[in-house]
Symmetry: C2
Subunit: 196 residues, 2 copies
C-alpha cells in the first residue's frame, strides 16, 4: 500500500470517528469537547483516539480543513453552473448550509478556529479567504450582468456568509427544521436581498 | 450614599475599565483575553481589576448582560417607532450593529457565552430569548400588515440576526468601513430580503 492510499485510509477512519462523536461535538462544541469525551462518544479508548489525532488541535484542524475544502467545492460548482446569479447564489446558499448542518458530516463546525496556533491558524485563514473570494466573485459577476444589486460586494458577502455561518449555532439536527427547510427559507430571504 | 447609587458608581467604573481594555478584548476576544491582559490594557494592577470583577466569568457576564440589555432597548424603540416594517426593521438593523460594533462600548462582544457556568448562562439565554422574541414580533407584525414577506418568522429572524451577529467577527474599528457604512449596506440587503 503506497503512502497516498495509506493516508486516505487514515483519513477515512478519522471521518468515521468524528461522525460517531458528532453528537458530543455538536452538544459541547468543537471547542468545549475534550479528547476524553470525543473518544468516549466514538467508542474508543483515549489512547486509540490519540493514534488518529495527536492532539485536540490536530482534530479541530482536520475538521475545519474538511469543512473549508467542502465549501470551496460548493463555490466552484456554483460558479460553473448555468442560469445566472439566482441559480449560482441559490446553489451556494444551499450547499453552504448542507456542509455546515448535515449530520452525516462531522457535525456543526462553527468555523471558529481563533484558538489554533499560528501555523495551523494561518493555513485555515488562507482557505477561508479563498472561499470568501469565490463568494465575492459570484456577487461581482452578478453585478456585472445587473442581476445583483449594486453596492459593496465585500459587505454583501459578509452579510450573506454571516447569516449562513450563524446557522451552526442554533440549528439542531433532528429538531423542528430540516436542513432543507432552512435552505428554502434562507434562499428566499438572502436572494431577495441580493438580486435586483 | 445608598446601595443603588453605590452600585451605579461601581458599574460606571467597570464600564470605564472595559472601555480602556476594549482594544485588547477586541484583539484577543472576550474568551481569549486573560484577566492579566485586561488589567494591563486598562492600566490597572491585577488586584485592582479583581476588585471590580471577582473573576473572568463575572467580567464576561457583565459585558454580555450590558450588550443584551442594549439590544432589548433597541428592539423596544424599534417596535415603538412609526412608519411600518421598513422603519422598524431598519432601526433594529442599525441599532444592533451599533451596539455590537461601536468602539465606545466595551468592544465587539461576540454574543458567545457557552463557557459560562449554568446559572449565569441561563440568565443570559433568557435575555437573548427575550430579544429574539421582540425581533420575531417585528417580523410577524410586518407580515400581518403584508409589509414583510410570508414565511417562517423564526427562520427569517435567525438569518437576519446571524448576518448582524457575525459582524462582530470581521469588523475592525478604525478599519476600511465605518459602522455607518456597514449599517447602510446591511439595511439595504437585509430589508430587501424581508420586505414584500
Amino acid at each position: 500500500m503506497n503512502e497516498r492510499s495509506k493516508q486516505r485510509r487514515v483519513d477515512d477512519r478519522r471521518l468515521e470517528i468524528l461522525a460517531s462523536a458528532g453528537g458530543a461535538i455538536r452538544k459541547l462544541g468543537l471547542r468545549g469537547a475534550g479528547m476524553r469525551e470525543i473518544a468516549e462518544a466514538a467508542g474508543l479508548s483515549a489512547g486509540n483516539l490519540y493514534y488518529y489525532f495527536r492532539s485536540k488541535e490536530e482534530l479541530v484542524y482536520f475538521c475545519q480543513v474538511r469543512t473549508l475544502d467542502a465549501l470551496i467545492d460548493v463555490a466552484k460548482t456554483a460558479a460553473a453552473s448555468q442560469g445566472g446569479a439566482r441559480v449560482q447564489l441559490g446553489h451556494l446558499i444551499e450547499g453552504h448550509l448542507r456542509v455546515l448542518l448535515d449530520s452525516r458530516t462531522a457535525g456543526a463546525v462553527h468555523l471558529e478556529f481563533d484558538d489554533l496556533p499560528p501555523p495551523l491558524y494561518g493555513k485555515l485563514v488562507r482557505k477561508r479567504d479563498r472561499y470568501e473570494k469565490l463568494v465575492r466573485a459570484l456577487i461581482v459577476d452578478g453585478q456585472a450582468r445587473a442581476e445583483v444589486r449594486p453596492g459593496n460586494a465585500k459587505l454583501k458577502a459578509f452579510a450573506l456568509l454571516g447569516a449562513l455561518n450563524w446557522s451552526a449555532r442554533w440549528f439542531h439536527p433532528g429538531g423542528v427544521y430540516s436542513v432543507g427547510d432552512v435552505a428554502l427559507s434562507f434562499a428566499d430571504q438572502l436572494l431577495g436581498g441580493l438580486l435586483s
